[in-house]
Symmetry: C2
DNA sequence: CCCCGTTCCTGACGGAGCATCAGATACCTC
DNA sequence: GAGGTATCTGATGCTCCGTCAGGAACGGGG
């Protein structure tokens, strides 16, 4: 185990509030905080997420929370960043690992299903990421951009190859956004009588027509 | 003291915290609170929106705020409801008042442009409405459903008339969602080099292909 | 014009959560 | 098992919350 030369941005200087570099135990506690935050977000509105509650959920004290995060918002930022790190590549592969030539329809379905699945699984974090991005917070916005960059670029390449009418970048961006939105508001659409399967079909159809140019 | 039988939902029992029915001056103050809330939301994150600040912005005291709203969330709810009341019909007309037969492309553009304009104008309220809906708050969810119902139904009818492949309801719902999302994240797409015009073109294209079945 | 009831506003307060620090505790190394 | 470092927490001052009781503004009748 060589000296942690943290040149990479990934393991950026992760410091406790007093400037120390956290060790194994500290990092575990930090992670416990993030887990607790995530768990609470399943049931509590972001606006009502309090430091006291996170600390209690994590089985520790509020003061400990402040050792690792200056505020709740920063904990959310860390969660979002982790999500980006661990999923950026997978989202990209979800699109590139497809036989678009041989089975365009099935491929579109897989992409639609995979993206919806991803958003649904991480909904609590992603909706906060979305809100903060909309509100103009640049740190969240960058994480969001990076998280979606892989998928967007893959779709863009696909669209560019096909010489579809219209701007490939715009098409890819809009499609990715649509997927995010649909996943987030799936409940609402289902309440209008739209089943999950029909939804995937519809979204896949839009992907097909917008990105592949197939009618 | 007769039991106020407020049958209508419109003039629902709008009460001050002590049970009075507010008069002209009271309603003006209430509105001033809502305006102040809206103004603050342009610059302050929803999570950091405090009663004290709203009161200060409205040139009054925190106690006054509590005369008209039990909490900040309820003020947001009122703003969203007002938005729904005043725009429901217009959003619907934005779609029905079009010559879809004679000029499908222009019509799709108008709809795309109009929706984006609407969302951009009311972005601060709408993004909170979106978040609260996602978080499962039924009151916000209902307002959102109603607000979008007009537009969604109009698009659905259009899709149904055309006998497009796929489910008209799902198509309409997804398209409306896409419009909302694109408006909210316009900045992000523009940062990727996508101009507003190209964006409108792209969205209009998706509307055309998804709802009208025109390639 | 003043009176008086109603409507509306606010100063003041106890309570809850925030954010900080100094000191206590757990862990590791030798 | 002693000493040093990493980690945690009780205690604290402070901001904001949410609720009164009482004061100010309005408006209709004399």
């Amino acid at each position: 185990m060589s000296e942690q030369t943290t040149d990479e941005v990934d393991s950026q200087d992760l410091r406790a509030s007093d400037g120390r570099v956290p060790g194994r135990r500290g990092l575990a506690t930090r992670q416990k905080m993030l887990d607790a935050t995530g768990a609470l977000l399943d049931t509590v509105a972001y606006r009502d997420l309090k430091v006291v509650d996170i600390a209690r959920e994590a089985g520790t004290s509020p003061a400990t929370f402040y050792q690792y995060f200056p505020d709740v918002e920063s904990a959310m930022l860390a969660m979002a960043a982790d999500l980006g790190d661990s999923w950026y590549a997978d989202l990209s592969k979800l699109i590139t690992n497809r036989d678009w030539e041989g089975d365009p329809d099935g491929s579109a379905h897989r992409v639609a299903d995979g993206m919806l699945e991803f958003w649904t699984r991480h909904k609590p974090v992603l909706r906060v990421l979305d809100l903060a991005s909309m509100e103009g917070d640049l740190r969240f916005r960058e994480i969001r951009t990076n998280l979606l960059a892989g998928a967007t670029e893959a779709l863009m390449d696909l669209a560019a190859e096909r010489n579809i009418p219209g701007d490939p970048m715009a098409s890819a961006g809009v499609v990715v956004g649509m997927l995010a939105h649909v996943a987030n508001h799936q409940h609402g659409l289902e309440r209008w009588g739209v089943s999950h399967e029909v939804l995937v079909d519809t979204v896949a159809g839009i992907i097909r027509r917008t990105i592949l140019g197939v009618t």
